[in-house]
């Protein structure tokens, strides 16, 4: 009896990862074999959040290259040694280029990259590199700024809320850009920040948004992976700013004013092409508007057309490099001048940003 119970428990334990783990697809090698591309996601792309948008990029690459490439996806890969094993197994399967989409993969990817000089590695959102490893990310803050203009224009109270995951420079930069955008049209607007300390937790995200709404905010923006903060705003008749995907489509409500979105395909397609041609070189890439890595979803019909026109005009200016978010005098939210008038913030300062601009209520530390 006891033996049987141990056996059954073991069986349960071994069964669990089968269901939990991601699926890998392999195919027989043929004469003119397609180039194999490995993709590693931190979550399941079905989440309509961060990994979902990466997968849209992968799908775009699959459509572009057709049968010239074969993609092997690995989902729900933890940001620890497990990711090293995942990369090794992708290499065993014959992948020529590997993309990984989350920050904490970088150290593991660098380790694997050093051992496999004949494979190209692409890491998203980090800073480490190698002769055969690039890092890449996008200037999402530009879109945050534009969405801030729309939020500032549509808010009646001037109290905007922002549900943030972690106080990393990326999130802080986004909040600052959003605030600067809102205050460019409404100088008295404030942005209250609530940290959830999680990228993904529907209940906490919703609670955080509701506490902001209870506090009198009438527009909720977010740096989270579910639509819950936006849905909480819609339920109360307030407005929402999406993130990652087009929230207007996902929630079916025009109270979602606009969503800053990622377009990873614009980076993945040329990189895969370069790997094919043998012209691939290592780089640190921070893509912006000019290369379409970031974009705005269609704007809600509730937003007046002159606001939309103004936003589009600014977008063009950022494309032309005649305007950018962190140009000119900047004060932090304690009143200290952080940047003098006429100066332009360097990428280095943006990538380590750990302070809030004037108008943000909350602490970046």
């Amino acid at each position: 009896m006891k033996k049987l119970s141990i056996l059954l428990t073991c069986a349960l334990c071994t069964l669990a990862p089968i269901f939990a783990g991601g699926s890998t697809e392999t195919a027989e090698m043929s004469e003119d074999a397609p180039m194999k591309v490995g993709v590693i996601y931190v979550s399941a792309p079905g989440d309509f959040g961060y990994s979902y948008m990466h997968d849209q990029g992968t799908i775009a690459a699959e459509e572009y290259f057709g049968d010239k490439i074969e993609v092997i996806r690995m989902e729900n890969i933890a940001e620890n040694e497990e990711s090293e094993r995942a990369m090794e197994s992708l290499i065993d399967e014959g992948c020529k280029i590997i993309f990984a989409n989350s920050y904490n993969y970088q150290q593991y990817m660098q380790n694997v990259a050093k051992e496999h000089p004949d494979v190209y590695f692409e890491h998203c959102s980090g800073y480490l590199d190698n002769e055969n490893m690039s890092n890449y990310f996008g200037r999402m803050y530009q879109m945050r700024y534009l969405s801030g203009i729309i939020a500032g224009q549509m808010s009646e109270s001037g109290n905007l809320g922002y549900v943030g995951a972690f106080n990393t420079p990326e999130v802080v930069r986004g909040i600052n850009a959003f605030t600067l955008g809102a205050r460019s049209v409404n100088p008295d607007a404030t942005v209250t920040v609530v940290w959830t300390n999680t990228w993904f937790d529907p209940s906490k995200e919703k609670q955080a948004a509701e506490s902001l709404l209870d506090g009198g905010c009438d527009v909720i923006a977010q740096h989270q992976d579910t639509t819950e903060p936006a849905k909480a705003a819609i339920d109360r008749g307030a407005y929402a700013i999406g993130y990652n995907a087009n929230f207007m489509e996902l929630t079916g409500s025009n109270h979602v004013l606009v969503s800053p979105m990622w377009n990873w395909g614009s980076y993945m397609i040329p990189e895969i092409q370069k790997a094919m041609d043998g012209t691939w070189t290592s780089q640190s890439y921070w893509g912006g508007l000019d290369d379409d890595m970031i974009l705005l979803s269609p704007v809600s019909d509730l937003v007046p057309s002159d606001t939309v026109d103004a936003v589009m005009a600014l977008e063009q200016q950022m494309r032309d490099d005649t305007f950018d978010v962190f140009w000119g005098e900047l004060k932090d939210n304690t009143g200290t001048v952080r940047q003098a008038a006429g100066e332009k913030m360097s990428d280095g300062d943006m990538l380590t940003m750990d302070w809030f601009v004037e108008g943000v209520i909350g602490s970046a530390k």
């Binding site: 009896m1 119970s5 428990t9 399941a44 989440d47 529907p202 919703k206 955080a208 506090g215």
Partner: protein
């Protein structure tokens, strides 16, 4: 916003969020009272959340969704009961496997049970209806306690279930049977009580509650399906059982305290309150309070030379033939 108003809203947020937690905790109190530790709560809740959402999405019936969620939770706990009671496997290991299995299976099925238009995926779908808040006329307008009368039907049900559970456990013959099985199973067996049958009943009952707890999330609080959407509520519930000293009456206080802390940290941030205590600390507070409670209870039990509040036979399998 005046402070009375703020407290009312804080309470409302706590009740909305705490409903799922309370169901899971109450169920686990029943299970643990009978001497079975079920660490599979998180996985069981997730299966409840998934099945409830899937059924409601396809049938448009919220009631059917809750019932299926309840049965799924019960079924999952039945696996636990079979392994730990009949086969006498280690309750901790089995419970952990149930959580891993349930989490994996729920996330797997979440991509298989959706409609064809959405690639069979349940993620990203909205329900036609959810459990809406029902306001009791007049009562819901009272400051602070009015929050208790503006909640969903699932929360109202708890107002009945909590006192009923307490009464059942401490004032009825069946409750005495339940407690005796958890405290002194050999004595109970000598009295003619079928220990294993009793344990089966309350483990499955605990699963019913956990399933409804999951559905309270996917059909009421955050009406949607998301991978691992319970976000650790199952684990907080297990801590909460200890905090409430295995007493249904204290579960109510416990959920208000635990849920209240989570809501409070968001409210303080939203109010622009200069945080003296870092938010990261507030996030671990429920677990910290549990440790403190355990210490206090242990000291008290040593002082009074009494037994510890936990059921004495908790975690130990029972066999009539073992000497």
């Amino acid at each position: 916003m005046n402070s009375l108003d703020l407290i009312t809203k804080l309470l409302a947020a706590t009740l909305a969020m705490g409903t799922s937690l309370t169901y899971a905790t109450l169920g686990e109190v029943f299970t643990e009272k009978s001497g079975v530790l079920n660490l599979g709560l998180e996985g069981t809740m997730l299966m409840g959340a998934l099945s409830g959402f899937a059924v409601t999405f396809h049938t448009q019936s919220l009631m059917l969704g809750v019932i299926i969620a309840m049965l799924t939770g019960g079924l999952f706990s039945l696996i636990h009961a079979f392994l730990t009671i009949s086969l006498r496997s280690n309750q901790v290991v089995t419970g952990l496997s149930i959580t891993m299995f349930g989490t994996g299976l729920a996330n797997f099925l979440g991509k298989r049970l959706g409609p064809v238009e959405n690639n069979l995926n349940l993620v990203g779908l909205n329900l036609a209806a959810k459990f809406e808040n029902i306001q009791i006329p007049l009562l819901h307008k009272i400051p602070v306690i009015g929050a208790f009368f503006d909640v969903s039907i699932l929360t109202y049900l708890l107002y009945i279930l909590l006192p009923l559970s307490w009464y059942f456990m401490y004032k009825t013959k069946h409750g005495l049977t339940l407690r005796s099985v958890g405290e002194a199973p050999r004595t109970a067996a000598a009295m003619g009580i079928n220990v294993n049958k009793t344990r089966y009943i309350y483990t499955v009952l605990g699963g019913f509650f956990a399933g409804v707890g999951g559905a309270a999330l996917s059909l009421s609080f955050t009406p949607s399906w998301n991978d691992s959407m319970t976000g650790g509520i199952g684990w907080i519930a297990i801590a909460l059982v200890i905090f409430s000293a295995w007493n249904p009456a204290r579960v109510a206080i416990g959920t208000l305290v635990f849920g209240g802390i989570t809501s409070l940290q968001f409210f303080l941030q939203a109010a622009g309150f200069k945080m003296v205590i870092p938010v990261q600390f507030l996030a671990i507070a429920p677990y910290f309070i549990t440790v403190v409670t355990l210490i206090i209870m242990t000291i008290n039990s040593i002082k009074n030379k009494g037994s510890f509040a936990s059921p004495s036979a908790l975690g130990t399998p029972f066999a009539i033939d073992e000497k």
